[in-house]
């Protein structure tokens, strides 16, 4: 065995946990800003700490990725696809880190307490500035929509690998053996 076929167990664990968390955050985000009901307050209260948790995990994941790398893509893939796959992963990492940072910064600029749970409040990371708040609030929306777009592309790519190409790329993120997992009934 000269080539590693799987991501490290930590990488796989982080991937699936964060995939769930980030998708949940995107849905919570758009649902809460469209609500004037009691759900608004509850969802925002969930959104802030979950977003900060994603930020912390994203740094851990980045360190792990740099330290333990990723299994190489199959050489059968054309150069263009490999560049696309690589740059979409860079975009995912950037957004995963930028989006919660922008969330934290915008609340700081808007002079909102960045509260996690009752009694625990993070310090502001920029000084109060309403114009900056407004810009960052807009940026938070656009980065979130961008992240959702990249995630959709990423899921489509993963499914192409897993269901059509069956080249082990999708399976590198799973636990089961490659042969078994390509079978769908």
């Amino acid at each position: 065995m000269s080539e590693r076929k799987y991501f490290s167990p930590l990488a796989r664990g982080l991937h699936w946990a964060m995939a769930l968390m980030i998708l949940a955050m995107l849905f919570i985000g758009v649902a809460m800003v469209a609500s004037t009901g009691p759900a608004y307050h509850r969802l925002v209260g969930l959104h802030r700490p979950l977003g900060i948790a994603i930020l912390a995990l994203a740094f851990l994941r980045l360190v792990n990725r740099v330290a333990s790398g990723a299994p190489p893509l199959p050489t059968t893939l054309p150069q263009g696809i490999r560049i696309l796959a690589g740059s979409s992963q860079v975009a995912l990492y950037l957004l995963m880190i930028a989006l919660p940072l922008v969330g934290w910064a915008m609340l700081s600029a808007g002079d909102y307490p960045v509260s996690m749970t009752s009694g625990v409040t993070l310090p502001p990371i920029v000084s109060p500035d309403p114009a900056l708040y407004a810009s960052l609030r807009g940026l938070h929306t656009w980065l979130a929509l961008g992240l959702f777009g990249v995630i959709l592309a990423h899921i489509t790519g993963a499914l192409v690998h897993g269901l059509l190409l069956r080249d082990g790329v999708f399976q590198a993120m799973l636990w089961r053996r490659p042969q078994a997992s390509t079978r769908i009934e």
Binding site: T36, Y40, I184
Partner: protein, 359 residues
Amino acid sequence: MSLIRQKATEKGNLGRVGIVIGVPVALAFAFIAAAGWFTPDRLTPATVVRTFDSVDGPHPGFRRNHAKGVCVSGWFEGSGQASPYSSAALFRVERSPVIGRFALAGGQPYQDDAPDKVRSLALRIMPANGGEWRMGVNDIPVFLFRNARDFNSFLIASLPEATTRKPDPARIGAFLAAHPETARALSQIKQRSLSSGFANDAYNSLDTFLFVNAGGQATPVRWTMEPEQPAPAQNSVKTGRDYLFDDLTATLAEHPLRWKLMIVLGQPGDPTADPTVAWPVGRTRIDAGTLVLDKAEGEDGGPCTGITFDPLILPEGITPSDDPIPAARSAVYARSFTARSGETKAPSAINLNSTRSGK
């Protein structure tokens, strides 16, 4: 690419192609459903802010409601007497700095002061070690609506007619007929006794919150900011389109103003989810501490402009009740705050260095 095309058209792969396309498409649909695109009837914060804009006309940079106001600052000193009911640090015997804002209700930033217009006070109390509390309190006995949707519908019913430039009494009448609670609240508001100015006015929470003490026990509460200054200030101005504000700022230039924070403890059965209904008189009231305001500043460059007085910014020891209005306010204030913070604002009516001309 050609490899994918070849695999996709291979016999027996149709189902797989369906999944490859179907999963992201389904996710995208779920996402726009969550965002409310398929439920246009849902009342969003953006809708409410648009309603304010259409009723009051666009006033970029100004608050969408309570648009005419002035910043104030001072401190709050707890008495310790509310501590058995709430673990919030600011109720202990200590001073917390305060940023506040006096305002007139309504979305018109240049409206003229008048005795019976609804006056408000907004406060941000900041204890030294965290546990900030923000509130907005009004000088009326009850709120007019049970929920944000009714408020929004009422605003739409009160849209000025194109021809008369006045609200259509028939449409307002129809709203009141369908909402007896609003009609009842309106008559109670009309009967309230009017104080002569901001300084000797009392301001009410209207909404219900829960105080939670160190033992985890919750008590429904409402509260009133009760003025300690009984009579109007000696140097009252009393004339001019901004007489209420001029009077306030002139008084604050002379001496500080004080209010007592009186907490009203709810009893089982008192309506908590309906701010249109007053609690029975005679409920126990606790003197939770004293608010002292000693400085006024214009909004432009003043300390109350870059914040919103979101009533759900609560310290540990105060939580929302089943009253649906505070959550709606929290959402709509965020929307109003975002909109105005990104706009170029004209100078506010109340500018401490000059008096507006006019009748």
